[in-house]
Amino acid sequence: MSDTKGFTPNEMMTIAASRALKSDDVCFVGIGAPSAACNVARLTHAPDITLIYESGTIGTAPDVLPLSIGDGELCETAVTTVAVPEMFRYWLQGGRISIGFLGAAQLDRFGNINTTVIGDYAHPKTRLPGGGGAPEIATSSRQVYITMAQSKRGMVEKIDFFTSFGHGEGGDHRKRLGIDTAGPTLLITDLAIWKPDPVTKEFTVVSLHPGVSREQVQETCGWIVKFAEALDETPAPTELELRTLRDLQARTKAAHQGTAKGKAA
């Protein structure tokens, strides 16, 4: 994957996502790509960021990336660990989360996410895990960031199921449903940074990662892509960012595979 630039598209994605987070953010972390980005932020420019996982761990600082949202280290390094009903009632519903950070199996141009089914709900072609905490993270967090690698299968004209509501049909759709939070305000892919148009709420490319062309973005996206007039180039990862991410991933790999084989489940 690594090319002449010295970093992979996925590394660029994770690092670009990490830069969007600040030390005073209270971030509800989805598993997978968001988890890596949030922890790179914590280990580089945002040391005081509060990371929250839905298992109830508040202010956690894991040394390796958790495989599940409930790995023991999340609890051991947390400021406090609360019960799951308290997590969703007091902390998320109570409006204390500044950023909900989500991944997606399927995404549309308005930031609506599907992680439930491919095909018809009652007779699915593929039954995916479902929403977990995401439906309420998407509406109760003050803002939502989304990160995913681009593909025509993932970024589609029409999602099969509305697991989590983004901007719906666009425009003021959130407001019409009585949702007063901002919703998706940032999309970071392996090729570009996207932000919603202020009026239509359609995700628009505002920055291309180094060496990425408009054509590449369009070829890996299922809708006609809109580009901002003043298109930026995302700064390449710094040496510190790359080293931090790679060290974290190496520690994580050793930890998850190092556990000797369990004989039963």
Binding site: G70, V84, P85, R127, T259
Partner: protein, 285 residues
Amino acid sequence: MVKFLPLKEAVAENLHDGNTVAFEGFTHLIPTAAAHEAIRQGFRDLTLIRMTPDLIYDQMIGMGMARKIVFSYVGNPGVGLLRRARDAIENGFPHAIEVEEHSHAGMANAYEAGAAGLPCAVFRGYRGAGLAAVNPNIKSVTCPFTGEVLAAVPAIRPDATFIHAQKADRKGNVLVEGIIGIQKEAVLAAKRAVVTVEEVVDNFDDLHPNLTVLPNWTIAAISVVPGGSHPSYTHGYYERDNAAYLEWDEIAADRDRFQAWMQKNVIESSPDDFAGRVGHLRKAA
């Protein structure tokens, strides 16, 4: 009043065909040994409730024990999909199952309502979410004070709840610590609760006063099963066996391999086998 029983008897006394049952554990403290005992006893027509169905419900569904599942995340956390559950939902194998799907917020609120003796839970949820359209148990109520429209779901009231926990004292009070998840609510919401523990200690005199302790009169039966949550973990005793979760993805992908694995590791095994499965996961400390 609580009884200390061998796991086989605790399961036989408290679980019956056709029951609505929760085997809870939010990644942590999953009652795997109790689920395996239920599989050995071959119950049928169960309604399985759980926020994160995970490996044990994949196993119970694959063994044909479930009539219906109620859940909010039907995945192998951090690994991917649950392949036996998928086979049942997508292909009706070994038989079709009914599905009632919620969000985590919906399930957590519903358990809490069950523990609180309320008929339903009210919360700010499911706004714009497709689940509200496909699950008739997701409704709405209007706040009589502000006019805000809120989501409502029925309380969860299982016939039986099974959880794993750290330890009991001699009187049968139970300590749960670490990621406590939904353990307390699932026990208090149920008609009968069975707890497997790592060990029994004389008393809880040395515990912090605010720890989660379930008084003995809230529990029907306790069984001592060291390692009983493997490949999940017990905070303070042994770590999560992440390699086993990765391995399960391959085992469950194939119907025959699944059956062979179940025969060897569940049907022909016993609760006593769990201690040996966590030896390498105990911390050196």
